[in-house]
Amino acid sequence: MTRQNIIIRFFAFLMAVFLLLQALGWISIKLMQNTNPVLNYYSKKIYNEPENTIDVISIGSSDVYSSISPLEWWKDYGYTGFSWGEASQRPAENYVYLKKIYEKQKPKVVFLETATFFRDQSDIDNINTTIKAYLEQIFPVFAYHRFLWGPNPVRIFNSPPKKSVSKGYFVRPEVEKAQDSQKVLKKGKKIKMNKISKYWVDKTIELCEKNGSKVVLLKCPSSDWSKKKYESIKKYADKKGIEFLDLNYELSGYIDWDNDTCDGGIHMNYFGASKVTSYLGDYLSENCKLKDHRKDKKIKKSWNHNYKVYKKELERAGLKRADSFSAANPLLQKPFMN
């Protein structure tokens, strides 16, 4: 076989693989629907939101989709938010996804969840994450292939809802109390961000600031955290001159570790999330001048509808809350620490 033939064959095969992966990606996104509207929380749904309608983005790992329910901000303040959380997300992914989000949205505030900062401790892991993040942008099937083998392949022929009703929030009603040892935040080992992780965190902050967003570093309450991690992030935030809300401390005494967690302290359940969401809602109202969109004709219909569906699903699941999150949480009368 001539060299020319080999090269032609090689590129033809690559093209075939490219098309195959694109096709699989298209199918996996089609199948990535959950018939329960509030379980349809996948982060990528943010790309389907109308342009420039999201004011607050919370981005990070599972802590974000478990702890922050943007529809509650809508109800209480008229703020439009979206929770982008992917299980075990890493700093490079924060950057890559946020960059794509900025193509359509101009958020005023970005909550950057800090659990992601320490996840990749080695250079190899960081490089893997970086490749994974970019690869998933080109071939979504790498991120969503698990949906290809979902229980209902017929969904591919449906025209499912394109947006996430719960705006990225995943309602977790289960209660599994934390072990005694997990209730108190451990001191932990001395830790610092890997240099590649730090590079991506720097780049993410730069990206947000360049786009005019206020960046707030955030740690949602979780037993999978330590004092040393807090100190490390605090030092970093001070150096950068940005705010850091560590809700393990800010909400200390208000999180009920027997009832507010769904998996023994790692993640918040609905009750824990309501406390986190209301705290952040009050923070936004006191510290960021965000627009109340409840009278905005362009979006109010859709957001009110989403809230109605969301509330109905909560009621169906037997999850009730007080009319106002803030009223339910006296801690929010406490001044903010930053």
Binding site: F13, A16, L24, A87, I127, N128, I131, F142, A143, W149
Partner: protein, 529 residues
């Protein structure tokens, strides 16, 4: 750097392949050397000094042996017979001393980084038993990547030079490449210099067929690792961790599943490694040859982790059996036993060392020692009882060459191997013992579906991840056993069929693989050794 990671497949291997083929053929080995250094530095950082030291040590030792041998060759004609004999014996002693020193130093480094805490724990147990007030503290040690693999290759190289099987390498960097070659350094195969030395140090022109075969093998390895092994791992883990919560049928099933997982994991890794090497025109040794059709445990170890088995045969079993002590034992045996036992009894003693080394090689835990000795016990019993079995089968008129009998042998070996795998994957010996007895404690078959659900395994997963792979492996194994190369068969098919097959393979790996959002694949099991 895992062979199934994005970094290895996209950021490492592709640039290395491109660089390899654009650089003049003379310098291509340099690309492999640089790539291996980068690979090692990423995985083990400063611990690279360990493999550097071992490379330098064996380079100097082999050179020393060869220089002495060459010098002897030069002057031997000018010497009288007695003088020649004397010098030869003297040289032999010196060469043995050099080999011994290399083995002691290399194994010493291996011992220090892998077995120090294990030895400390054993010493502590003895101290407690003898009421001695002494305690060895546990030391946190980092293990250089692939030390169990490259140490054996290094020792084999020096011994081979001494035996005249291969020549000593002139360039130390080529020895370093041989020991640190990135496709073999993580999980083997444990290569011999005589097999790959030349292939590594001479550049290869691009060969379309070899290149495609390499990619196919990598794809097959990725299927085994990320589709079969990594998916099964989560179910196996649940049962081995909480075996007390499961009935005997599910435990038996999960022991079988674990055997499949380990096979898919280890042979998958080797396939990716061999496929990677083939991209550069380098053919590595096979490490698996349909192990589950073995009729005896001995045959199983000639088909499973073949390069470890052959190392232990050539560099432990033979030297031990040929040593003066064993020769004397053999002579004494001949006086005491009949012909069969006169050869078998010394062999049993020599085999003990082989299986002890086999067990210890796998890890610094008691369970691994027991794992090795488990096989030793089976082999020993088999050897000792062979005359009795022979008589029984003869009196019952059973033809041991018949197909039916051989199938029974395969089934027996399969069961024994699975018990071995259970020991291998148990938390410790006590758990292995409990699990073993739990397998015989009857439980209701009707509980199986619910218990499987408790592991997270639903019936579609059971079919997709266990039954279908078993059928595929059996199908492929059957052809290989017949001496039919599936790759050659595919290569003769029209382009349309070939491409359809490859694209289907890509689709299966991408869509069924255990990776992606929220999923962390298991590390290669043998990489920890």
């Amino acid at each position: 750097m895992q062979y199934n990671s994005y970094m290895y497949l996209f950021a490492f291997l592709i640039p290395v392949v491109i660089l390899y083929y654009i650089i003049p053929i003379k310098y291509r080995w340099g690309v492999l050397l640089t790539a291996s250094i980068v690979f090692y530095l990423f995985s083990s950082k400063y611990l690279i000094v360990s493999i550097l030291f071992t490379s330098l040590l064996v380079y100097l030792a082999a050179k020393n042996i060869e220089d002495r041998n060459l010098k002897f060759k030069e002057i031997k004609k000018s010497l009288e017979k007695p003088e020649r004999k004397l010098l030869k014996e003297k040289n032999e002693k010196k060469n043995n001393l050099v080999c011994g020193l290399v083995a002691i130093i290399s194994l010493g480094i291996l011992f220090f980084s892998k077995y120090l805490n294990f030895a400390g724990n054993i010493a502590n147990s003895f101290c407690r038993l003898l009421n001695i007030n002494m305690q060895f503290e546990t030391v946190h040690l980092l293990m250089p990547l692939g030390i169990s693999f490259y140490t054996l290759s290094a020792i084999a190289y020096v011994i081979d030079v001494k035996r005249g099987v291969c020549e000593a390498e002139k360039k130390p960097l080529k020895i370093f490449l041989f020991l640190s070659f990135f496709p073999t350094v993580t999980e083997g195969p444990i290569e011999r210099y005589k097999n790959v030395g030349k292939m590594l140090s001479t550049g290869h022109s691009f060969d379309y067929k070899t290149f495609c075969f390499g990619l196919q093998l990598m794809m097959w390895g990725l299927f085994k690792k990320i589709v079969v092994a990594d998916n099964l791992n989560r179910y196996v883990m649940v049962v081995f961790r909480d075996y007390k919560n499961f009935g005997n049928w599910v435990i038996i099933l999960m022991v079988l599943v674990y055997t499949l997982e380990l096979y898919a994991d280890f042979s998958g890794c080797i396939d990716i490694a061999r496929g990677s090497a083939e991209l550069f025109g380098i053919e590595l040794s096979e490490n698996f040859k349909q192990p589950f059709v073995s009729k005896t445990v001995n045959e199983f170890w000639q088909r499973w982790n073949i390069t470890l088995g052959s190392f232990l045969r050539d560099y432990v079993f033979y030297p031990v059996s040929l040593s003066t002590g064993f020769q004397n034992l053999s002579k004494k045996s001949k006086k005491v036993f009949n012909n069969y036992y006169a050869t078998t009894v010394p062999m049993i003693f020599a085999l003990f060392m082989v299986w002890l080394c086999n067990g210890l090689w796998h890890g610094s835990e008691v369970k691994y020692v027991v794992y090795g000795l488990y096989y030793y016990a089976i082999l020993t019993l088999g050897l000792l009882l062979e005359p009795l079995f022979k008589k029984i089968f003869e009196s019952l008129n059973i033809n041991r060459e018949s197909k039916g009998y051989q199938r029974c042998q395969i089934a027996r070996t399969f069961i024994l191997v699975n018990i071995g795998m259970m020991i291998f994957n148990s938390k410790d010996i006590a758990s292995a013992k409990e699990m073993f007895f739990a397998m015989f404690k009857p439980s209701a078959i009707s509980n199986i579906p619910q218990e499987l659900l408790n592991t997270g395994m639903q019936s579609p997963a059971m079919v997709l991840l266990f039954i279908i792979p078993v059928i595929i492996f059996a199908f492929v194994g059957h052809f290989h056993e017949q001496g039919i190369s599936i790759r050659e068969y595919l290569a003769q098919k029209p382009l349309f069929y070939r491409w359809s097959f490859y694209l289907a393979g890509v689709a299966v790996i991408i869509s069924l693989g255990a990776y992606g959002v929220g999923f962390k694949g298991a590390d290669f099991i043998y990489a920890q050794f």
